[in-house]
Subunit: 215 residues, 2 copies
Amino acid sequence: MTHLNLLVGGPTSQWPDQLTAGKVSGDWIGADRGTLRLLKLGITPLVAIGDFDSLTADELKRVKGAVADIRQAKPEKDETDTQLAVTVALHEFHYDRLDIYGATGGRLDHFLANLWMVLEPRYRKFAPHIRFIDKQNTITFYVPGAYEITKEPDKKYLAFVTMEPVNNLTLPDEKYNLKNANVTRPISYASNEFIGETNHFSFDSGMVAVIQSKD
Amino acid sequence: MTHLNLLVGGPTSQWPDQLTAGKVSGDWIGADRGTLRLLKLGITPLVAIGDFDSLTADELKRVKGAVADIRQAKPEKDETDTQLAVTVALHEFHYDRLDIYGATGGRLDHFLANLWMVLEPRYRKFAPHIRFIDKQNTITFYVPGAYEITKEPDKKYLAFVTMEPVNNLTLPDEKYNLKNANVTRPISYASNEFIGETNHFSFDSGMVAVIQSKD
């Protein structure tokens, strides 16, 4: 399985340790301030995307000197830097998975825009290939079906999040179970836990996010 | 206008400076670890609520010695400590506003559960009285109507967040405008800004959150 990483501009305090240490494997795309942060980690992204309005002239010069493929957008655009970067990542590159870092913490309007991006018609079919990763959380997305999920060794908690109305949500073998629940609004079923290393869940309509987290 | 404060157990790194300094005025309720943190700030909450499963025996003893009204819940309950606390705050106390601290940052399953609580039928009518406050964000909630909103002096950004489908969302006088938008899914219209000190918005159905934030 091949994966592409994307770093957007959220606070570095939310990065997982592996990223802070510059040890996340794979190719990178940088969005806005994320590009500069990648360069500081010694990582040159394949593409740098954004309006770069948060960078000083010197910082922008450094980005332009280092990255071969720069896509500079107008500051007063309709799309966020994250949307622009995800579009490039999904349409121009062919990886099995897109791992997004820097999309959480800090401004909550940004986090919610990032989270709900997967509900946009243009990104919806890609949702199962997208992960958001930070210091305490991994978020993955599922379209209707039946799934086996595997516990991440460093995470204690498991949550099922209905991103929109969901029918027949069944959690058969987790610590807390649900059977054919019809969920009419977004709910975060938080603080569930794995029993063993793998568990299962299924649903018939809508989109579900699974969050593995730790304190 | 009278207000009640609620401190839940999210990371203290997300607290606004005023809270860290123990200078938020008004009465308090503590949920789970929030109670202990209030005591450490020199604040004795009116009520302490939760399963207290994150406290040591000594910490729980301190809480029980200090707070007159303790509502201890079973750890394996269906409701979160935040839900229990909000229920007590809204039903037993009669304040005009409930300001919730400690509900953001850290575990995202917790944050989403906290955010979406206002969509529960039992809390819905109280939503306009609830605020979430952290270091960089203030979140307020609106039911259908026409509103004037006032810029918080320390915040730069303004976001309109459709918590569910919303009809005729109009932003007439902000930096970026919308006219009678029918929004069919949750969207965070992020990074808008006030023009002047007060602006307006209106919508006909659903619920909208307004987030004022800063970098």
